[in-house]
Subunit: 203 residues, 2 copies
DNA sequence: TCGTATATTGACTATATAGTCGAAATGACT
DNA sequence: AGTCATTTCGACTATATAGTCAATATACGA
């Protein structure tokens, strides 16, 4: 009698579920782009997402879990943005330069993403830590090659990240001049005391 | 019959009032050093200050007003830190260098202050704007003297502020090496492409 | 059309936080 | 000791937010 295909059922559920979950995730993303996670409320989220309160709890255990999911999505966007460079470029300074530029260009083209990055930088998550780890690896390699005058990796990382974040804030507050990413990169390389990478694209 | 000196009364009141107000202000300062203003609660503040709830509202209309008062106090500490340099040094790059170094040294010696500065940088207040205005004045002067290779004042300001804030975060997270302020300053001057100021203290 | 697994809803209870206010305490002065 | 302007207190009411759950809707397969 009526053998029901449980697997199929679950799949259907998963599809519908994914759609609503994405709505909530998007609403959470927008809200987290404009306020710190401590300022989020479940009522605010469900209103922004256009779903009922119970639905939120059906998909997420708590606001923290939602924030973590948004963080994971942001982490994915980092990988998507940076992985190509990591594979193609063997020169650590070139990798770093490419990544830095991609970041600022993305910030210009996608302000919500930029706001989210800036907000996330307040309380470092697993994903922003990953970025820093990659950066430090590149910097260490460059230092080992004797190509940076800054010898302290942590300081070097703070210089790169500090300029990147603050320039992002500048892009968000004032309107972005398109020349900014290049100029900012030049400044970063000067700050690190970087010897020219092979491409020689700087002044 | 008992002519009461109202002015004296008011003065007495003001003294007692000032003491309790300072307690609340200090509690607010500590809390704002560790969380964004949106995450503050009146209950949390009065508990930290060791006063009753009504007392808070006797001194402040709202949490925003308390946050503004903390911001003003922070602004005063900026002036105290920076005014001497502004009066004594006529060279804009020397002024900027002095201010930058004072900031980082203060961050090392007073972590609560540093946390407060970092937190405040999220949502620029009247007082952090003042800092940026001073900085931009110095940078403009230096650019006009043809002593910086960075020509865009906003970008230059972002570079200085970005490095300063991120190095502060680094100081707070890791333990501060005392050589950091000097090294960071060197990096900033290189980033700006600054010609040597007269003292020539850099590498 | 009906049955069923899954997803969605919104009303409901808990609790936390905001903001008020009359009563009590304080302390300089007589 | 008594007076009184001022400050402090904490109980109280409002409201907002968290978190639950029984009822309902959905949509596919039989």
């Amino acid at each position: 009698m009526a053998k029901v295909d449980m697997a199929r059922r679950a799949e259907i559920g998963r599809e519908k579920r994914a759609k609503t979950r994405a709505q909530i995730l998007d609403a959470g993303t927008m809200l987290l782009a404009e306020r710190p996670p401590e300022a989020l409320t479940v009522d605010g989220i469900v209103e922004a997402a256009g779903v009922a309160k119970g639905t939120f709890y059906y998909h997420f255990q708590s606001i923290e879990e939602l924030a973590a999911a948004v963080g994971a999505k942001l982490g994915d966007s980092f990988d998507e943005l940076l992985t190509p460079a990591r594979l193609e470029l063997s020169d650590p300074i070139a990798r770093l330069s490419f990544a830095f530029t991609r970041f600022l260009e993305k910030a210009i083209s996608d302000p919500i993403w930029a706001r989210l990055v800036v907000q996330s930088s307040r309380a470092p998550t697993e994903f922003t830590r990953g970025i820093r780890a990659h950066l430090k690896a590149d910097l260490t390699e460059a230092i080992d090659q004797g190509r940076l005058s800054v010898q302290d990796v942590e300081l070097a990382a703070d210089i790169v990240i500090g300029i990147c974040l603050q320039v992002m804030r500048g892009i968000l507050e004032r309107r972005a001049a398109s020349g900014v990413p290049g100029q900012a990169l030049d400044a970063v390389l000067r700050a690190l005391g970087a010897s020219q990478p092979c491409d020689g694209s700087r002044a």
